[in-house]
Symmetry: C2
Subunit: 186 residues, 2 copies
């Protein structure tokens, strides 16, 4: 295998596609994002990177709350639309029906099968982006997408984001914490 | 759609599967991880959550450098193995051939098609986990996995992680920054 250097770039292989929800000036707003992951097990935390100039950032700073909403692949048009237009130019409060959970100020998109309701724990200034780390206070889920009390990926049918393209989840390669048992020293 | 609450849990729909590389006591060590994403565009940054008790955490704290190595689906056994055993119990320095880039102390796994070489920018104590935010100083790529100077996901064939299972990337759903143009107000 021959390796070459490509320079510094903000690369990650695959990422989740989601909608960051925040109330801005009292109105729900949703922004498409993919730069998100889990940040901590206990307490449960997630994080998402948001460009400082984004309208959504104002809402998160204002309320210290936000949501991460997981759309299904069949919601790709509405989802991508939220990334094409800014809430500063267009009222995005009607694209999804919003409801509120424990925090009262983090709008949750009703149509998305999973909503992660977060209280802002810390925002880290990284340069062009703020990395918002949020404590998960509640997971709201479509009953049709839950198996044994947990969100079920095969029912959610989430959108994988990679190199400017939305994909669905492919076939199972192996089981985690299991596949490695087949390892034999070279 | 009927919604129920599932309580607070560290949930994310889909995540990348990768190996966090760090030198611990002068030896390369690789730890399987999925809680990672891009943290910033400019400068380019990535982040990864690592349990405080992990052997890898010692190496990152020691050198202030680390790497994120993206394996292919055909490396799932070696990859998962690195998550089953701790470097404190087993020397994992021979599972992959290591090489070094600009930083000299962040081991890069030769067999992985993409290596993201990082200088520690900040570590955020979230509770059980430290969220390591690293500035990307270089991307090393297998020449066979590059198209037009960028890593090519279709050639890398990365592993998607979701609910304790490894998946491959499925079929294209739509194009980002494009699908939303089909949106019409309801």
């Amino acid at each position: 295998m021959q390796k070459i250097t490509l320079g510094a770039m903000p690369f990650m292989s695959v990422m989740p596609t989601l909608l960051v929800g925040a109330n801005v000036k009292g109105k729900p707003n949703y922004m498409t994002a993919a730069w998100a992951t889990v940040a901590c097990m206990a307490p449960a935390m997630v994080c998402v990177a948001v460009n400082k100039m984004r309208y959504t950032a104002k809402g998160i700073e204002e309320n210290k709350t936000f949501s991460l909403n997981i759309p299904s692949a069949n919601q790709v048009v509405e989802t991508d639309h939220c990334g094409l237009v800014s809430g500063s130019q267009e009222d995005k409060s009607e694209i999804f029906r919003s409801f509120y959970g424990k925090l009262k100020t983090a709008p949750l998109a009703e149509e998305c099968p999973i909503n992660i309701e977060c209280r802002l724990f810390k925002s880290v200034d990284c340069g062009s982006h703020l990395l918002y780390i949020g404590e998960v206070v509640e997971i709201h889920a479509d009953t049709a997408c839950v198996t044994d009390g947990k969100p079920d990926i095969t029912k959610i049918n989430p959108i994988v984001y990679a190199q400017l393209t939305y994909f669905d989840v492919g076939k199972q390669v192996d089981r985690a914490f299991s596949a490695g048992k087949k390892y034999t020293k070279k």
